[in-house]
Point group: C2
Chain length 226, copies 2
């Protein structure tokens, strides 16, 4: 049984455009059903992952929340891992424009870029429907982390931005790879604590991270010159 009629508005909003961009955007019955099924599986996956954790969920759990038969799952995804990847990439894709906006609004102001970018990330993490939020909020010991091509592309884009600013500010002794890695590490670790409520103030955290990176870069530059 297909799920066209049971499509939820959230899944519609979240996945339809993305799915359409992957395949042709015809409006035949067949295409619509495929889109709806894919969306239904993803939405079910989001829910189940949030409820049972990554380890705990099975393909059967996901498909059961759907009106599809078990075999149908494999027409859309190879495994639960692939579903998770899709959800994760979805989040990355939604965050990307926020990062771009931060860079464009900042102009040549490195500090403004950093503050805006960190704040955008933290807000995104806490408020948007990221699968990572659902997962990190669980009080479990075992976390999963994914490095999808989409994630790596985001990393590279960030690195490009940082290199541009580093050049502008004559930080020629600061290794861009190390600098970008540090930014990402700080964002992740602080983001994790925000998600678990160990830290509350997003804006304070963003300013902390931004000043930290700025001061850190400058110190590295002056020490490495010597």
């Amino acid at each position: 049984m297909q799920v066209l009629r049971t499509m939820k508005s959230t899944s519609d909003i979240l996945y339809k455009d993305r799915a359409e961009s992957l395949e042709g955007n015809q409006s035949g019955k067949r295409e619509q059903t495929k889109l709806a099924n894919r969306a239904a599986i993803l939405e079910a996956g989001r829910q189940i992952f949030a409820e049972l954790g990554y380890e705990g969920t099975t393909v059967r759990d996901i498909i059961r929340r759907t009106e599809l038969a078990s075999g149908t799952f494999y027409n859309y995804f190879k495994s639960k891992e692939e579903v998770f990847h899709a959800l994760h990439d979805d989040g990355v894709a939604r965050f990307k424009p926020l990062l771009r906006a931060a860079r464009e609004n900042a102009g040549q102001d490195f500090q403004a870029f950093m503050i805006t970018a960190f704040e955008a990330y933290f807000n995104f993490l806490l408020n948007d429907q990221t699968i990572d939020r659902e997962m990190a909020a669980m009080p479990e010991w075992t976390r999963v982390r994914f490095d999808t091509p989409e994630s790596l592309a985001l990393f590279d884009e960030l690195k490009g931005d940082i290199v541009a600013f580093a050049t502008e500010f004559k930080l020629d002794h600061v290794d861009p790879e190390l600098l970008t890695a540090s930014c990402v590490g700080i964002a992740q670790e602080i983001g994790d604590r925000l998600l678990r409520g160990r830290i509350k103030d997003i804006q304070a955290a963003a300013r902390f991270a931004a000043y930290f990176v700025l001061g850190g870069s400058q110190r590295v530059q002056s020490e490495m010159q010597a």
Copy 2:
């Protein structure tokens, strides 16, 4: 069949002392067998996790590399997760004294502490038999991360050290939680790149990280005061 006779020297060295400290350290046949079995399972687990990844390994895979029967596994661990935790905690326990040594050798020198601590961590990650090394070296998308009580204790100890230095250096506007989180994030992200060979020079990386943290803290202090 028990595995006393097949105990390998590595597992002997790695797990025996630790296991003994958990239970009584009698030398009866029974106690010896328990120690040997536990060690055999852990050593098999280390191998299999490295070969198949965390996701890919099953309890059966682990026990099969052993001469024990499947049921015996559950006399020692509840799940593969628990085996992984034990291996992870083992690594944390071996790293702890290195961190203590860094602090004691540094005296009141914050910079020396940071450089030594980061370098110790990176060296440990790359050279010691950490389960995390085996895992991160795999070119897979899916990573696991564990927050065991042992890990959290290490985090708290590090936070204590950092607070001490922060007090000493009048960094009273620098949130210790944020600062420690940043240090950990930087260490993890740079460590990850070292493991995958994207960064080569350990000492340069350690100096980068240390200067970064020092400069970052100072900048945060001066900005937050204003």
